[in-house]
C-alpha cells in the first residue's frame, strides 16, 4: 500500500481539483481529505457518509462564578490572555482564546474552574464512486487540526489494509504548519501542485524544503502552466536545482470551475487537452511509486 499526498503550499493552485481527477485513474483507492478546516473535495466526490465520529481533543477552561472569589490568580497566570475581566469585575474565560493548557485549573485556590474536554469537530467514513473516503470537519476556529489529520489518516490506513487497497490518495492542506506536517508524516510521495506566479514559486520552495526535511520523495506538477510561460520555465529551472522531478504540466482551463458546478472532476466532464495532461500525470505517478 502506497500513500500519495497532494499539496501546494499556496492555496488555490488547483490541488483539490487535481486530486479529484486523479481518483479516476487509480483502481484500488482510499481517499483522504486532510484540508480539515476548508475541505472541498467532498463537493466533487459527493461521499455517502457511512459512519460519523466525534473529534474530541484538548480541554477548555470555564469559571464557575458561584465559587470564584475574583482573586485574579487565573488572570495572572494565563499566558494566552484568555481570562477577561467583565464589567462588574467578574472574570470569565474566552473559549476561543483558551489554549487548554490547564495552568489556571492548577493555580485556582478555590477550585472554581472547570476543564471539560472540547469537541473539536467531526470526521466521516464514506463511500464515493472512486472508493472509500475519510474526511473531516474541524469545529469553527478550533485548534488541533494536526491531530485531526493524524486521526483520519490512521483510520484510512486501517481501511486500506482491511480492504486490501493499493493506494491512499490524500488531498493536503495549504501552508507548511502543523496540519501539513501531520499530512506529510509517513507518506511515500508528495506532489506539489504549483502555478507560474511569483507567490506560488516562493511557496513551492518552502513546501519542498519541508518535504525534504522529512526525507520524502517529492515531485512537482505545474498547473495553469500557460498563464506565464516565462515563470513556467523559471519553475523548471528551479526544481532542477532542487533535484525535484516534474511529473505534470496542466494548462489553464476554465472547464475546472464549470465541472465543479456539475459536481464532477474535469476528467469526468471533458475529454480535452487538460484531461490528457492529467492522465499523463497519473501514469507518471503510478510508475514512480510502483
Amino acid at each position: 500500500m502506497k500513500q500519495i499526498l497532494i499539496v501546494s503550499g499556496k492555496g488555490g493552485t488547483g490541488k483539490t481539483s487535481i486530486t479529484a481527477s486523479l481518483a479516476s485513474y487509480f483502481e484500488s483507492l482510499v481517499l483522504v481529505d486532510c484540508d480539515v478546516d476548508a475541505s472541498d473535495l467532498y463537493l466533487i466526490l459527493k461521499p455517502e457518509v457511512q459512519q460519523t465520529f466525534d473529534f474530541i481533543s484538548g480541554h477548555t477552561a470555564h469559571i464557575l462564578q458561584k465559587d470564584c472569589t475574583q482573586c485574579s490568580m487565573c488572570l495572572n497566570v494565563c499566558k494566552f490572555d484568555a481570562v477577561k475581566v467583565g464589567n462588574k469585575g467578574t472574570l470569565c474565560i474566552d473559549a476561543i482564546d483558551c489554549e487548554g493548557c490547564g495552568v489556571c485549573i492548577w493555580m485556582c485556590p478555590q477550585k472554581a474552574i472547570e476543564f471539560p474536554e472540547s469537541l473539536c469537530g467531526q470526521w466521516f467514513f464514506s463511500n464515493t464512486r472512486h472508493g472509500p473516503m475519510v474526511h473531516a470537519k474541524l469545529a469553527i476556529g478550533a485548534e488541533n487540526s494536526g491531530k485531526l489529520v493524524s486521526e483520519i489518516r490512521g483510520y484510512a490506513t486501517k481501511i486500506a489494509k482491511n480492504q486490501k487497497k493499493d493506494i491512499i490518495l490524500i488531498d493536503g492542506p495549504p501552508g507548511i504548519g502543523c496540519p501539513v506536517i501531520a499530512s506529510l508524516t509517513g507518506v511515500d510521495c508528495v506532489v506539489v501542485v504549483t502555478e507560474p506566479t511569483l507567490s506560488a514559486i516562493h511557496d513551492m520552495e518552502r513546501i519542498i524544503a519541508l518535504a525534504k526535511h522529512f526525507g520524502i520523495s517529492t515531485y512537482v506538477c505545474i498547473n495553469k502552466s500557460d498563464i506565464n510561460e516565462e515563470l513556467t520555465q523559471t519553475i523548471k529551472k528551479r526544481i532542477k536545482v532542487l533535484d525535484v522531478e516534474l511529473v505534470g504540466e496542466i494548462p489553464y482551463d476554465t472547464a475546472f470551475t464549470r465541472a465543479q458546478v456539475q459536481k464532477k472532476s474535469i476528467v469526468e466532464y471533458s475529454n480535452g487537452k487538460t484531461t490528457q495532461c492529467i492522465e499523463e500525470l497519473a501514469q507518471k505517478l503510478m510508475s514512480k511509486i510502483i
Binding site: D40, C101, V103, W106, G141, I176, R206
Partner: protein, 284 residues
C-alpha cells in the same frame, strides 16, 4: 483601525486585495502579513531597506542538579511535552505551547525558560507603507506565536491591514482577533462559496463585523452573489474575472495597475467601514 483581510479558500485574491488596500489608502499605513506559513505580500513591494529579527517562543530548560524527578512538571503539561524517564526529564520542544505551567509548579525551581527560534519578522517601509512580515521557519509546526509577534507591531493611530492565513482554524482566529472589521475575499466558485460560509460562521462567532469581496466574478456559470444576497451578507465589491489581473499578479504586479478605478472604490469601502467602526466605538 485594524482591517483583517481573510479567505477560507486559498488563492482567491486575499493578498491581491491587502496589497491593493495598502497602495490605495492614505499614508502612512501598515500591512501586516500574518500568512506566516506562506507569506507573499513582500513580492509586491520593494523591500530593499528590510530589517530582520528572530521570533522566539519560551521552552523549559531543566537544571539536572536541582531536579528531584518528582514529576509535577510532566503532570501539569497538557501537551505531553515533558516526560520523566529514569534519571532525567525529557523536554520535547516541538510539543511545547509555552504555557509556563511547568515552571510554576516545580517545587525545586529547577525549571528556567529559554528562547527557541521558530520564525522571523521582516520589516520594510516604502512610500509610506510599512510592511511587517512574519515567517514561520520551515519544519516548525506552530504558526500562532509568529502571528502574535507580527501583531505586536499594530499601531492604533493608523490603518493596519492584516493579510490573514487561509483556512478557518486557529491561525485565522489568531490573525483576526482584535480586528475592527474583516474583509472576506472569495472567488466566484462553488469551492469559494463553501469555504466562505465556514469563514463567515467563524467571524460571526468572534463578533467582528464583516463584508465580502467577490473576486473573479463570472468564472462559473452560476454566480454565488445571489446566494450571498439571500443570506443578507454584505457584498462590498465584485471584481470581474480578468486575465490581465492574473498576469500582473503572477509577476508581482498590482491589481491597481490593471484596474485603476479600483483605487477609489477601495478608498470608499474603507471610509464607510471606518465610519461604522467609529460609530460602534462611540456607542460602546
Amino acid at each position: 483601525m485594524i482591517i483583517a483581510v481573510a479567505s477560507g479558500k486559498g488563492g482567491t485574491g486575499k493578498t491581491t486585495i491587502s496589497t491593493a488596500l495598502a497602495e490605495a489608502l492614505e499614508k502612512p499605513v501598515q500591512l501586516l502579513d500574518c500568512d506566516v506559513e506562506e507569506p507573499n505580500a513582500h513580492i509586491f513591494f520593494n523591500t530593499e531597506n528590510e530589517t530582520k529579527e528572530n521570533v522566539y517562543v519560551k521552552v523549559p530548560q531543566i537544571a539536572k542538579n536541582s531536579c528531584t524527578l518528582c514529576g509535577r512538571c510532566a503532570q501539569i503539561c497538557e501537551f505531553n511535552a515533558l516526560a520523566v524517564i529514569k534519571e532525567q526529564v525529557m523536554v520535547f520542544d516541538e510539543l511545547c505551547h509555552s504555557c509556563g505551567g511547568c515552571k510554576l509548579v516545580c517545587p525545586e525551581k529547577a525549571i528556567s525558560e529559554v528562547d527557541m527560534q521558530i520564525g522571523k519578522l521582516k520589516r520594510s517601509t516604502t512610500d509610506g507603507i510599512t510592511l511587517i512580515q512574519g515567517e514561520l521557519d520551515v519544519g516548525r509546526a506552530m504558526s500562532p506565536p509568529v502571528i502574535r509577534a507580527v501583531k505586536k507591531h499594530i499601531k492604533s493611530k493608523i490603518i493596519n491591514i492584516i493579510d490573514c492565513p487561509p483556512g478557518n482554524a486557529c491561525p485565522l482566529v489568531t490573525a483576526v482577533s482584535n480586528a475592527d472589521y474583516v474583509i472576506l475575499v472569495t472567488e466566484d466558485s462553488l469551492f469559494g462559496l463553501n469555504d466562505l460560509l465556514i469563514s463567515i460562521d467563524t467571524i460571526k462567532k468572534m463578533n467582528i463585523p464583516m463584508g465580502v469581496i467577490v473576486n473573479r466574478c463570472g468564472i462559473s456559470e452560476k454566480s454565488i452573489t445571489e446566494h450571498l444576497r439571500k443570506k443578507k451578507i454584505d457584498i462590498l465589491l465584485e471584481i470581474p474575472e480578468n486575465i490581465g489581473i492574473a498576469k500582473a499578479y503572477s509577476n508581482g504586479g498590482s491589481i491597481l495597475s490593471v484596474v485603476p478605478s479600483l483605487k477609489n472604490q477601495l478608498v470608499q469601502i474603507i471610509a464607510e467601514i471606518s465610519r461604522g467602526v467609529y460609530e460602534a466605538n462611540t456607542h460602546r
